[in-house]
């Protein structure tokens, strides 16, 4: 199996008469995109498309998912054929709140330092569903709309000349035997409404743990339906750009032998957690690695799943490093994790999600303002009279992504 990735860098983004790329400027035909999104799902009542550029005084509220525009130029399964990626832009879905876990993206100011999406050109799809649509249907409609909109935009640019093409090779047999064998365990949240992830179209509640070709994982094989606290949900964009997988593939055969990816879920019941951890450890052992990197999604009860995995792997003689965020309280003086294990002796911290931040008012606000106080990481007094926001980092999309995409960390002072 081979996967060719073609990348085209988009330098600027704006509305235009057609959705098309000219040079490195991407224009969006707003009316056509609205009609496309509204016309493909009868649950959708209204669609508003907005453009937000890096550095602009714009705040996006109740962002649900972020998707990188991509289209298959050849082949139609994830992980094979040719994929065109529009670099530097993303689709963001928003609209009235479904649960509590949607988040904030600021395109400028202090909040912009914390979200990887603040530096991308964003096509924001604001969706209202018909009155009476049940919450699960609401989530499903928005998820599908975001994916289709991103695919639609990329498809209009299918004939561009890419800036670079990479063949993603991954062959563990021709690798220097002296290189350390390294596996990767990717924990996917899978707990019901707004806490689900989809692997090859199926909910991660079923069919996991499993092994998966890492190229499938980053080529659309994993989709987020998951809006657990905005800071540490793994958006679809993060799955598409999984920094652990891209680095492991990059250094494969040079610095290590990347022996494989195991996906595991994060169920809600204790017995299921134990069963998933045991099966995931067994799958990792089949890959015979010396070490394994484990990434997490969510917090609280997933900390218990993480500790079970680390205990199981270390006791099987597989050395581990795990990536986690912290909930150390606004003052940083509380315990950071809900569970611990002595085996968890090599953790990477991607930041304290409880840290508070004041976000100054923005000239333009996209999304439902009154819902701010209900976001996880928001407070009843979050919205200041001047339009400023006081939130925990929790509320900022991608701020403490536990795939380790960003550079934020936390230390004891």
């Amino acid at each position: 199996m081979t996967l060719a990735i073609r990348r085209k860098r988009v330098g600027s983004l704006g509305p235009g008469a057609a959705t098309a790329l000219a040079g490195d400027r991407l224009t969006i035909d707003i009316d056509a995109l609205q009609a496309f999104v509204a016309g493909r799902d009868e649950r959708i009542e209204a669609v508003h498309v907005h453009i937000a550029a890096p550095g602009e005084s714009v705040r996006i509220l109740c962002a649900k998912d972020v998707i990188e525009p991509r289209v298959k130029l050849a082949g139609d399964s994830p992980g094979e054929g040719t994929t065109l990626i529009l670099d530097g832009v993303a689709v963001v879905t928003t609209g009235p709140i479904v649960g509590f876990q949607e988040g904030v993206i600021d395109m400028t100011g202090p909040g912009a330092d914390y979200s990887p999406f603040s530096s991308l050109g964003l096509v924001v799809i604001e969706i209202e569903v018909r009155a009476g649509t049940p919450p699960h249907e609401h989530e499903a409609a928005v998820r599908a709309a975001g994916l289709d909109a991103a695919g639609h935009i990329a498809a209009q640019c299918a004939d561009v000349v890419p800036d670079r093409t990479d063949d993603l090779a991954w062959n563990e047999t021709d690798v220097d035997a002296a290189l350390p064998r390294v596996a990767y365990v990717d924990m996917l949240l899978s707990q019901g409404l707004l806490h689900d992830t989809y692997v090859l179209g199926r909910s991660a509640i079923e069919g996991l743990p499993r092994s998966l070709d890492p190229r499938v994982a980053i080529d659309g094989g994993i989709v987020s339906g998951n809006c657990v606290s905005a800071c540490d949900k793994t958006t679809t964009w993060h799955h598409q750009n999984n920094p652990v997988i891209t680095r492991l593939l990059d250094g494969h055969g040079k610095r290590w032998n990347f022996v494989g990816l195991v996906l595991t879920n994060v169920p809600t019941r204790l017995a299921e957690k134990q069963r998933s951890a045991e099966r995931a450890v067994a799958l990792v052992r089949e890959l015979a690695p010396a070490g394994a990197l484990v990434s997490k999604e969510g917090f609280g009860n997933p900390d218990a799943d993480l500790m079970m995995l680390l205990r199981g792997l270390e006791s099987a003689g597989i050395r581990t490093v795990a990536i986690t965020d912290e909930y150390a309280g606004p003052d940083g003086d509380s315990q950071s994790l809900a569970d611990t294990a002595p085996e968890a002796d090599a953790l990477i911290s991607v930041g304290n999600a409880n840290a508070k931040l004041r976000l100054p008012p923005m000239d333009r606000v996209i999304g439902p303002l009154p819902d701010v106080a209900r976001l996880a990481g928001g407070y009843p007094h979050s919205l200041g009279d001047d339009g400023s926001l006081e939130v925990e980092l929790q509320a900022i999309v991608g701020a403490t992504n536990q795939l380790g995409f960003s550079s934020l960390s936390c230390r004891e002072i």
Partner: protein
Amino acid sequence: MATGRIRVVHYLNQFFAGVGGEEAAGMKPEWRPGAQGPGRLIESSSDALEIVGTLVAGDNYMAERLSDGVAQALALIGEHAAEGSPLAPDLLIAGPAFNAGRYGLACAALCQAFERSLDKPAVTALYPEAPAVAGYRREVMIVRAADSVLGMNDAIAALVSVGLKRVRGAPVSAATDPIISRGIRQNYFAEAPGAERALEMLLDKLAGEAYETEYAMPEFDRVAPAPPVRNLAEATVAVVTSGGIVPRGNPDHIEAASASRYGEYSIEGLDRLTPESHQSVHGGYDPTYANADPNRVMPLDVLRELEREGRIGRLHDRYFATVGNATPVERAVRFGEEIAAMLVNVGVHAVICTST
């Protein structure tokens, strides 16, 4: 005296100020212009600062009436180096007090009070196991000192470097500076993304090389289970939930995550909760099913049955609710202690805690 240097007030006990030993330990705080004793070492170690005055007090005087003594010392600063005056300090340096008990306590307490009242930085130097450290490390910046005066030069260097950094607003952390960790987790931007740091750490761990975890495991406390309720049929039972079930409208504005409060709600005369009367405000689980039937999380319906059947004596007519979602442990412990005290006060014998 507009030298452009950072102005320091220095605190010393009677011994280091050269007043005397134990016989002078009862002296009240006094103000001495300029540097005294170790203060001269501080001044000579850096051109960037000058000591505008030295507070001197006796160990016993301070230890026996700490808050009074500290207030007197602050009053002396107000008298001799008031805000806006040419001597107004930018920084307080106290000690070094090494492993001294009384002296260390006075240094730490004065630093705390100085920062609180003047909103300017203060720094002291103590041996990590000195008695004052445990109680003050959270709030007071303490640089590491040896356990005796033999470590004077190192302690002075640390006081000056950390003190100057704080005045200049530069970040200070246990990772990069010779301070005793405050036990506070603080965010910062690392040089490399988390995924890259993780891979480098894994390679080090596999190669048997030294690596440093970015979060060391804390010690969890263990709660001993309470003894069983002897006769449930005579017991008054209450419900406490961290599942976020509150009267519709969320009258106490309990947050979806990181709850800063809990609510106490009447269930007097209610046979069950309904979607019209109650709702979930919890941000950490799918609330659809709890909103459709709040008894699933706050099981009033079943408890009323048990009450009618006589299997429990009486259901307490109020319940407590909060949201257990990213709530800092220290805050949750406080909620628990407060709620338990109130329930004990009104004669509740047993509590059912429901979570999600």
